[in-house]
Amino acid sequence: LETVPTIKKLRAYAEKIRAAEVEKCLSKMGDEVPKKSQKAVDDLSRGIVNKLLHGPMQHLRCDGSDSRTLSETLENMYALNRMFNLET
């Protein structure tokens, strides 16, 4: 459970990047972007972020049933906090 706040912060970190890049993209595409394209762009951005976060997020959860130990999970958390500067 110690890793729960890190999950939240990592999600927020990625969402900020995603939202900013989507906005930039849509403004480059012009005024009249078809709804279908807007949805495709939104799906693209979520697809990349979610698939990239999947591994780290999974390794922040330690349900006791698998081989992932608590200490390894905590080490993952410390590394993610460092690498994404999540403590501040």
Partner: protein, 119 residues
């Protein structure tokens, strides 16, 4: 017509949200939510519910936010169509984390994580 009104309410809501004008955002999404219900448009109904959840969450009203994010999950179940669920699970978990209920947050994050690889 009403569908057009619905679309523009959602768009306004998003813009207010972006500009941190949270109460105005809430009102736009609220109107959009009611319109979507009348029009029986579950996809837009979910977008409105998500917007309502996000508006409340950013105001620190986490319990109320959970209610609206949960409506997204209910609509998905009712319609047999899962769009928006990954984000809803994540947002509910974020709210429980803020409320200090890490146990419940973890359960919702597990649902969120289980869906990260799907489309």
């Amino acid at each position: 017509e009403r569908k057009q009104d619905l679309i523009s309410r959602l768009k306004n809501g998003k813009n207010f949200l972006r500009n941190q004008d949270l109460e105005k955002a809430f009102l736009e999404f609220k109107t959009a939510f009611e319109l979507a219900q009348k029009l029986e448009d579950p996809i837009e109904e979910k977008k409105a519910a998500r917007g309502l959840g996000a508006s409340l969450q950013r105001q620190g009203k986490f319990r109320d936010a959970v209610k609206y994010h949960s409506i997204v999950l209910e609509i998905s179940q009712r319609e047999g169509e899962e769009s928006g669920n990954t984000e809803a699970y994540g947002a509910i978990a974020d709210c429980y984390t803020e409320l200090g209920d890490l146990e419940r947050a973890a359960k919702y994050y597990d649902q969120y994580i289980a869906r990260l690889q799907s489309d």
